[in-house]
Subunit: 121 residues, 2 copies
């Protein structure tokens, strides 16, 4: 079953509120990127027409993404122990993931050294 | 400055991982609803054309939403003490909020009795 996994660095010892806000940041961030050609709005802006722009996500009926959005919308939080572990997952493990984008990689949100990131399994 | 506020029930004594996943659920949930006429995909489906559907969000340049999306994308977590407090904020305080939708209420995500919810201030 497709789920969004939020990876959090345990070594940063974030408090609950901080972790929740940061985890949400990554959960929503990956979604916004999927609506903007895999780029953040700071990296690339959609076309502005008559003073507004559109973020859009096309979903194929029956796809993993569709099942997730219309299903239980499951999210889980996993802890990693260090920045190195986080980087390893981000750079080397994404190829194993089930929900692929067209370039063969799973969507994953922008992340910083001390930010959680999220991706879909 | 516009921010997304995630309200979490303290009395449920959720652990960090659970709170992070549930908070993300509400953070992303409100966004998905904004892309679907304020409804969840279970309540109402967009039109399906050639086996797919689109979720779309129109953003006015310079609006609170635009500033938030392109700015610091700030999120904060606030604790409430009980289901009653959560319901009070959800039903009675939304009119005070800065980021209004066309119906005059601030977007807020679907919520359950034991779910956090999020909205924009």
């Amino acid at each position: 079953m497709t789920k969004q996994v939020i990876f959090v660095r345990k070594d940063l010892k974030m408090k609950k509120g901080k972790m929740t806000a940061q985890g949400s940041h990554s959960s929503l961030g990956v979604f916004l990127q999927m609506m903007n050609n895999g780029k953040s709005l700071r990296e690339e802006m959609p076309e502005i027409v008559n003073g507004s722009y559109s973020l859009k996500l096309d979903v194929t009926v029956g796809s993993d993404l569709d099942n997730w959005l219309r299903g239980v919308f499951r999210k889980i939080t996993l802890a990693v122990n260090s920045e190195e572990e986080l980087m390893d997952i981000y750079y080397h493990r994404r190829e194993d993931l089930r929900l692929k984008e067209q370039d063969g990689r799973s969507p994953a949100s922008r992340w910083g050294m001390n930010r959680p990131f999220s991706m879909f399994f």
